[in-house]
Amino acid sequence: MQNVRQISVFLDNKPNQLTGVVKILKEANINMRALSLADTKDFGILRIIVNDTDKALEKLKAASYACTSTEIIAITIPDTAGQLSRVIEILGGQNVNIEYLYAFIGKSDKAVSFAIRVDDNAHASEALLNGGIIQLTENDISEM
């Protein structure tokens, strides 16, 4: 299973910090597929999944942003009650600790996607595979 790369960008927790990042992506014609922002009193970590990870990293680094890429697991599940619970139970049953997760658009109106950050991708991926959960590749996401 090929994992999905997520870009994390370090930002100060001050007005106007996000502006620069989205402008760079716009100018490079990069589309964001998923976005989540974790914040503390001092700083924020912007996490994004884009349709061209290498190009986005290159452009952000050239503009002196502190950024890095991390492999995460992306899944798609039907957009109905109880589906996320199934996923969490599968991971919990295998003792996989979830650091964070966030939802993003699905492959269709009837589906929803999740980015899941765990410490052991291989273990989690195998558990999800055995539990019948569909995982997405970076390619799947960029073609959405």
Partner: protein, 437 residues
């Protein structure tokens, strides 16, 4: 082999130096007493006459001068020569109140440049060198002092002044500058910019740097030496005594030799004014014994350091002063503990952080707060908030071990703290604002 600018003076025996100093001191006290009413009044008040000063042993009988006196006597009160004999004025940066103006006769300028020439020579400079001066030119003494010293030595002088860092690097490369003179914080910034331009120390010809005008740490020295591929030498001075070149570092890099044929140093207890023996920490006091226009006697610098006559491997016999631990007015008292910005800088560099930081001190509910903003390390970025917060806690712990009080550490984005092209502003003490209200 060690080279000297003025071998006779720089390697003079202690006995001969004391004799020279005593002769000059006696003459200087007479000159000041006769020409400076402000100081004559201070001496009269203490019941001291010029005849009471027979040698350097009598120095302790003279009254002190402080920055407050300079402000009170502003602008001409301490002038000892008619203005028609003066050729130049310099002024302090005036960060802590009213500016101080200092006057120079042509002879004063010559002696000052001679002191700077000794510093450049001690850093390995000769007439074959190209010396890039990126201290500010103008009222600030940095540019004029090193510029003059560089001329004396016969270096090809690049009078760049500060600022426009990319152009500094372009000139440095194109003309092959071998020596650079500026503040240490600007040297660090030039090193950072060099790296950002995709260049390495191999792309430039620099071999030595002469850095002063603000306190800096050993850790910062190593960091600058690495980023520019040079040997970094400290230089000390203050506008009140002339400017840079009062003391300078030699190849041993363990403290600065004081040009004591021009400036007699003393170390005193800052509370009582009592003269302390060699080797003890205290406030540095200078007596200018050759200056004509603005000859300050027993001027309290507020810099805390130690004097040492330990034999130096460079062969110079001039007394050495340690790098000032901080100006006594840089010292902050936070929750009753004495804190110098240099201590925090030491920890930051040890922990791999950039030497660009901002210290903010405030008082909340009658308790002092210490907040330190530090640029995060790009290669240590994690997507997990808890990892980044752990880095903040680890750094706070390291600083607490050094200071004995706990700071709050705030990681900020790289390059977001303003770089300094001159003297860096590292501390904002908001308590002072409250006190004024």
């Amino acid at each position: 082999m060690e080279r000297y600018w003025n071998e006779e003076i720089e390697t003079m025996s202690r006995e001969d130096m004391k004799k020279l100093q005593s002769e000059r001191l006696v003459k200087q006290v007479k000159h000041v007493y006769e020409n400076v009413k402000y100081y004559r009044d201070l001496m009269d008040e203490k019941g001291i006459k010029p005849e009471d000063i027979k040698s350097t042993d009598d120095l302790c009988k003279l009254p002190f001068l402080s920055k407050a006196d300079l402000r009170e006597a502003y602008p001409y009160g301490l002038l000892a020569k008619p203005l028609s004999e003066c050729v130049r004025i310099h002024s302090t940066s005036g960060t802590t109140g009213k500016r101080v103006v200092a006057f120079y006769t042509q002879n004063d300028v010559d002696l000052w440049q001679d002191c700077c020439a000794r510093a450049i020579t001690a850093a390995g400079g000769t007439k074959d060198d190209i010396c890039q001066v990126c201290y500010g030119y103008g009222l600030f003494t940095g540019g004029a002092g090193l510029d003059g010293g560089s001329h004396k030595v016969g270096c090809l002088t690049l009078p760049m002044s500060s600022g426009n860092t990319e152009r500094q690097i372009t000139f440095m490369r194109d003309l092959g500058a071998t020596i650079i003179c500026c503040t240490p914080s600007y040297a660090a910034y030039i090193g950072e910019t060099l790296h950002d331009m995709g260049l390495t120390p191999d792309d430039i010809q620099l071999k030595a740097g002469i850095f002063g005008a603000e306190p800096w740490t050993e850790e910062m020295r190593r960091s600058i030496e690495k980023s520019l591929g040079i040997k970094a030498y400290d230089i000390y001075g203050l506008t009140e005594t002339s400017g840079p070149g009062v003391a300078f570092e030699c190849s041993e890099q363990s403290g600065m030799h004081i040009n004591e044929d021009n400036f007699i140093p003393e170390i005193i207890n800052p509370e009582t004014g009592e003269v302390l023996p060699e080797g003890e920490v205290g406030e540095l006091v200078f007596t200018s014994i050759t200056k004509e226009a603005f000859p300050l006697l027993r001027y309290r610098t507020r810099d805390l350091c130690v004097l040492s006559r330990k034999k130096c491997s460079c062969g110079r016999t001039l007394i050495k002063m340690t790098k000032p631990m901080g100006r006594s007015d840089d010292m902050m008292i936070i929750r009753g503990v004495n804190v110098f910005p240099s201590q925090i800088e030491t920890v930051l560099i040890e922990q791999g952080y950039s030497p660009n930081y901002l210290i903010e001190v405030d008082r909340v509910n009658n308790s002092d707060t210490l907040d330190i903003s530090v640029e995060m390390k790009t290669d240590q970025l994690s997507d997990k908030v808890k990892d980044m917060q752990q880095q903040e806690r680890d750094l706070a712990t390291a600083i607490r071990m050094m200071l004995g009080i706990s700071p709050k550490v705030h990681l900020v984005t790289p390059k977001s703290i303003t770089r300094s092209e001159g003297k860096a502003v590292r501390v904002i003490d908001k308590r002072k604002l409250h006190d004024k209200i």
